[in-house]
């Protein structure tokens, strides 16, 4: 495959024949890129189209035979009204937003200390925190479950529902998600914070600014891209989580969408009209977030994977 045929310079007008030859030679390149993009999209497109098809049509013919006039919104109506998807969508929001805010808040404080407050053992402690990145999450579930069982407060939380704390509580799952996201969050933010110009922060301190003022007035406003990246990551992880909800939220009234869909798969394993619509509802918000904040998203991966 020819990868890099000289591209005509933008200025000046290359002859048409040259343009034609160059395009022709680049054809394998376009075929490869478009081919991979299509191949990677087919499964998601199949899901999307099927979610708008009649149950009988899904069971008897492929999604590629669907025509526009046979599509329907019935599956979405069924799933939202009868299968509790509406309630679990709200639960997902109630779990995800506070958990995300909590991570950003708590991690930025710790990351500030790691980046700009010298103290003994700072380097070592930071390495320990980064090391916790690799602890398999499943491993922690039994001790946490026991801890929660002992601490469960069996009274209803006002407004949101569920227990006040412990098993089957929103507060409990917020803390769990915040803790599991913490190593990555501190890692990402500390790297970003410490890349801010030293002069700026020292000048502010010389002028008598307190740590709090430096943090609140200088570091946070300059770190919006990193904070946004972290927020998006944490949002997606929490939104897409099944395992923690599976263990800590047994009450079906509190179940997020991932848990609800898993139960649908269990009881309606081949009712693809329900499953595809439910899956797409659960994907809609992450996809919107992804496309809206794509720039930050990529930055976040880079900050996490390589330094700065």
């Amino acid at each position: 495959m020819s990868l890099g045929v000289p591209v005509p310079a933008r200025e000046g007008r290359p002859a048409l024949g040259y343009w034609f030859r160059a395009t022709w030679a680049r054809l394998p390149l376009h075929a490869a890129v478009i081919g991979f993009a299509v191949l990677w999209s087919v499964p998601t497109v199949a899901l999307l189209i099927s979610s708008f098809r009649e149950p009988s049509a899904i069971a008897s013919s492929g999604w590629w035979t669907a025509t526009v006039d046979t599509l329907t919104l019935d599956n979405y109506r069924t799933v939202l009204d009868q299968r509790g998807m509406g309630r679990s969508f709200i639960n997902s929001v109630l779990i995800t937003l506070p958990a995300t805010a909590l991570v950003v808040l708590v991690a930025s404080g710790a990351a500030y200390a790691f980046a700009w407050m010298p103290f003994r053992g700072r380097g070592l402690l930071f390495l320990v925190v980064v090391g916790l990145l690799v602890v398999p999450l499943q491993m922690t579930l039994i001790p946490v479950l026991r801890l929660y069982a002992a601490m469960t407060v069996n009274e209803e939380l006002p407004l949101l529902g569920g227990n006040v704390f412990g098993i089957n509580s929103f507060t409990g799952i917020w803390l769990a998600h915040a803790a599991y996201g913490m190593p990555f969050a501190i890692f990402l933010l500390r790297n970003f914070f410490s890349s801010l110009p030293r002069d700026l922060i020292e000048a502010a301190k010389l002028d008598g600014a307190s740590e709090w003022q430096v943090f609140w007035r200088i570091v946070l406003p300059l770190s919006v891209p990193a904070l946004a990246a972290l927020g998006i990551f944490q949002f997606l992880w929490t939104w897409n989580d099944l395992l923690i909800a599976l263990v800590l939220l047994g009450d079906p009234d509190l179940a997020p969408m991932t848990l609800r869909i898993t139960n649908l798969v269990g009881s309606f394993g081949s009712s693809y009209q329900l499953l595809t619509a439910a899956a797409f509802i659960s994907m809609a918000l992450p996809l919107v977030v992804f496309f809206a904040f794509q720039r930050f998203f990529v930055q976040g991966i880079l900050a996490g994977a390589t330094k700065g």
Partner: protein, 301 residues
């Protein structure tokens, strides 16, 4: 004073990660109900595999090893090649988004997508539709434990599960589908850091595109390739959700993390589960050290 800033974070980490980690070590030398001390019996059971029908530890270890090798060996080169290719077209952003989207959706949604794609009935399942279109037989992709080469010839119900099972390869392929976008995005950003003058100079000197890829792009990107590889290795070792939601570990697709979950939460053998978790943690430690060393050298730089 700095401790006050870190207190909430450290409390969370201690409660949800450090204490459970230590407690898992303790439970791994206790019996099923965490009452009596049993020494290293739980670890011995992992090695001897006394109940393969309840919990096949050998199969889980072999599958995890296969995930580790195949998943990483396919995803990293594929991401690298796609990074080079997409960097040369005008619609780079759109092409990268298409490949990245699977990263943004949940494993649960991905499992619905792939159960549907791999459905046995060729008039419903896309993959079997393509296979039968080309004259092949529809295949139970997620249940088939036979060796992949026999897929081309004939299959029988009494087939012996091979060391490389077709259904495991299919699951790993789904993993590649989900993670290639990550490798692509990171490597592509690294690629942007290579100076175009250097590439142009090589071209002027008569290097062909393969030589440029082999002798300039790959060596220059080495640090980024290492980062991506280590991240994917850790993910392959800890792989859980994907297997759990698609096959539930049935048809001999268990990996260590799913077997741990089964032993702990379904078979209620906390000792056996904890021992598996410790094995997993010990396997991750070398990668963690690698990560820390890399991090320290970056700090020094």
């Amino acid at each position: 004073m700095p401790w006050l800033w870190m207190l909430p974070a450290l409390l969370l980490l201690a409660t949800f990660l450090v204490y459970p980690g230590i407690d898992t070590f303790r439970r791994s030398v206790l019996d099923a109900r965490s009452d009596g001390f049993v020494g290293l019996d739980n670890y011995q059971a992992i090695i001897e595999n006394p109940n393969p029908l309840v919990a096949d530890t050998h199969s889980a270890l072999a599958n995890n090893a296969m995930w580790l090798v195949l998943f990483t060996a396919v995803t990293v080169p594929l991401g690298l090649v796609l990074a080079v290719l997409t960097g040369r077209v005008r619609y780079e952003a759109a092409a990268k988004s298409a490949i990245f989207i699977p990263m943004a959706i949940s494993f649960v949604a991905a499992s619905v997508i792939w159960r549907f794609m791999l459905e046995f009935n060729p008039s419903v399942g896309t993959v079997n539709a393509v296979v039968t279109e080309f004259g092949g037989q529809p295949t139970a992709w997620l249940q088939d434990t036979g060796a992949p080469q026999t897929w081309l010839t004939e299959r029988g119900p009494d087939e012996i599960p091979g060391p490389v099972q077709l259904n495991n390869l299919v699951l790993i392929t789904v993993g590649v589908w989900m993670w290639t976008g990550f490798a692509l995005v990171v490597l592509s950003a690294g690629l942007k850091g290579i100076s175009t003058e250097m590439l142009e100079a090589a071209r002027v000197d008569g290097a062909n595109e393969w030589q440029i890829f082999r002798h300039i792009i790959v060596p220059t990107l080495r640090p980024v390739i290492v980062v991506v590889t280590v991240t994917l290795l850790i993910n392959a070792l800890k792989i859980f959700d994907l297997v759990w939601v698609i096959t539930g570990g049935r048809f001999q697709t268990d990996v260590v993390a799913t077997l741990f979950f089964k032993q702990s939460f379904i078979n209620r053998d906390f000792g056996a589960g904890a021992a598996l978790a410790v094995v997993l943690l010990l396997a991750v430690v070398p990668l963690m050290l690698l990560n820390i060393r890399r991090f320290q050298s970056e700090e020094a730089a």
